[in-house]
Amino acid sequence: MADFMQFLFAGLTTGAIYALAALGFAIIYNGSGVINFAQGDFLMLGGMTCSAILGMHVPFALAAALAVAITVVIGLLLYWLAVKPAGETSVVSLIIITIGASIFIQGVVQIVLGKNQHTLPSFSGDTALHILGAYVLPQSFWVLGVASLLVVACAVFFRFTLIGKAMLAVAANRLAAQAVGIPAKLVLLLAFGLSALLGAVAGVVAAPITTTSYDLGLMLGMKGFVAATLGGLGSGLGAVVGGLLVGVLEAMMAGYVSSAYKDAVPFVMIIVILLVMPRGLFGAKSAERV
């Protein structure tokens, strides 16, 4: 039982990170129909830049804030320089563009910050707490807490603020939204920025546990995508549920079966999900107009 709780907590922690990545996917997908292959890199950037800035003897809070800010700027640039110029182009083109962007970002980070793993100090120490038979790091609670906060903030943002509602409008029907005066391009820009924000914060909070390196984004992005698809692409709730599920299943696999193959779990999941439940748990049905 203790083992199970251990794995469960571990799974929920990583699951919370996947959930944030998934949420980021959902927001951009909702706004623009683009699957941002660089989503995972936002998380990587958050952790890596924070680590780098810390190395310059900057106080932690400032370093974290700067890291998030830099990542957001990169997210905005991604839309402005790579996605927007492509215009109304084919799905294939957009896929390749965001893949290119992701690889480019990884490449630059690899050059600037090196190939090594970086880490951040835990926010409140490393003494594990004993809960329900499991040893849980305090950082885990930070992750879960911050993730929950962000998810709630997003929900509030989309439901109660004007900008949030504008984003939903653009997602539902871009032309109609533009017709009532909503600047769709600006909204999309914001969507990328918001996604980057979520990713960066998640990255900073997660780095003490997962450590971070230039290629973290790839795996994280993939798992975030799995989570988002499992939950139903475009559904915020789905992203969160999906993320937690993926995290827990992965932890169970690592704990009970084989640690080496734990990374394979999300990938097998994605293939299975896409075949059996392509719309995910909470996804909306869509009809293609011919």
Partner: protein, 316 residues
């Protein structure tokens, strides 16, 4: 059997025959062999990405399947290399067929993500099944030989690689102007239109996937024997991206484009004195810039410009 040979094929053949004389040393010949082998895989991937429009960023998995298939069969079971090559290519094709049928039901980004997953799983398996694969350090492979004749010199390898590429190019060009090729390109242009004309879209996508996997595996097998070595990095994400970039840069749906892409992406790093970690950045940049400014790729864009130039001269 092949009918008339196109003028472009004669030119390509001439270039291939004359190239070795322009090579000043074995190092350049080595690069040439690598280019040729990469081009075989690129031409194959072009059939899937360029013709049929299905983006795969996990095809290095099939290169590795071919490479390890040959490697394991020859070094652990003592199979004759040619038999191992055929078996590995066939095996990779079967695996591709099994995977393709379910995966190709997906569209767009979902498909691409699934191929990414494929590549990652292949990589993980190769690294972890040490007993079979020699683990992360890889495993040595005996040289390619048939009936007592072993391929050891760079010159011999050049000849073999060139011959294989010539065949691949011929097949691809033939396919382009054939009913099957039009069906593939058609489903890329408009799936609904293709279906309405009777094209079994799902089946054709699978065929393209399997054929591209076959060529990738052949390229992998040959590479394994050429390098006398295989390692899990052959199935790495970077390798898959490199392959996809060759196709995108050279020109989707263009056979010679894929070859050009292979040339550029294999030679460029050598010219830059080895990329030393700049590869990712470079590939990423190339992918983005190509898709934004030259979405058709180098060769088709060039063809378009020439065509417009000719027409302009006529109108003048």
């Amino acid at each position: 059997m092949k009918g008339l040979v196109r003028p472009s094929q004669l030119v390509a053949l001439a270039i291939l025959l004359l190239l070795p004389f322009a090579m000043r040393n074995n190092f350049m010949m080595d690069v040439a062999v690598r280019v040729l082998l990469a081009a075989v895989a690129a031409v194959g991937l072009n059939l899937l990405m360029g013709f049929a429009g299905q983006v795969s960023i996990g095809h290095a998995a099939f290169i590795a399947l071919g490479a390890y298939g040959s490697g394991i069969a020859t070094s652990r079971f003592g199979w004759p290399p040619v038999l191992a090559l055929v078996a590995a290519a066939a095996g990779a094709s079967v695996v591709a067929w099994l995977i393709a049928k379910p995966i190709l039901r997906l569209k767009g980004h979902s498909l691409t993500m699934a191929t990414l997953g494929l590549g990652v799983i292949a990589n993980i398996v190769l690294i972890n099944e040490v007993a079979w694969t020699g683990g992360p350090d890889g495993m040595p492979v005996p040289p390619l030989q048939a009936g007592g004749l072993a391929l050891t010199s760079v010159g011999q390898w050049y000849a073999l690689a060139a011959a294989v590429l010539v065949l691949a190019i011929a097949g691809s060009l033939n396919l382009y102007d054939s009913p099957a090729g039009r069906a593939l390109r058609g489903l890329n242009g408009s799936e609904v239109a293709a279906r309405v004309m009777g094209v079994d879209v799902a089946s054709f996508k699978v065929r393209a996937f399997v054929l591209s996997a076959f060529l990738a595996a052949v390229s992998g097998s040959l590479t394994a024997h050429y390098l006398s070595f295989v390692s899990p990095s052959m199935a790495s994400f970077t390798h898959s991206v490199e392959l996809a970039t060759m196709v995108v840069l050279g020109g989707m749906a263009s056979t010679y484009g894929a070859v050009l892409g292979a040339v550029v992406l294999t030679v460029l790093p050598q010219l830059l004195g080895g990329l030393q970690g700049y590869e990712m950045m470079l590939f990423g940049l190339i992918l983005m810039l190509t898709m934004i400014f030259l979405p058709k790729g180098l060769v088709p864009s060039l063809e378009d410009r020439l065509r417009r130039g000719v027409r302009g001269a006529d109108d003048a």
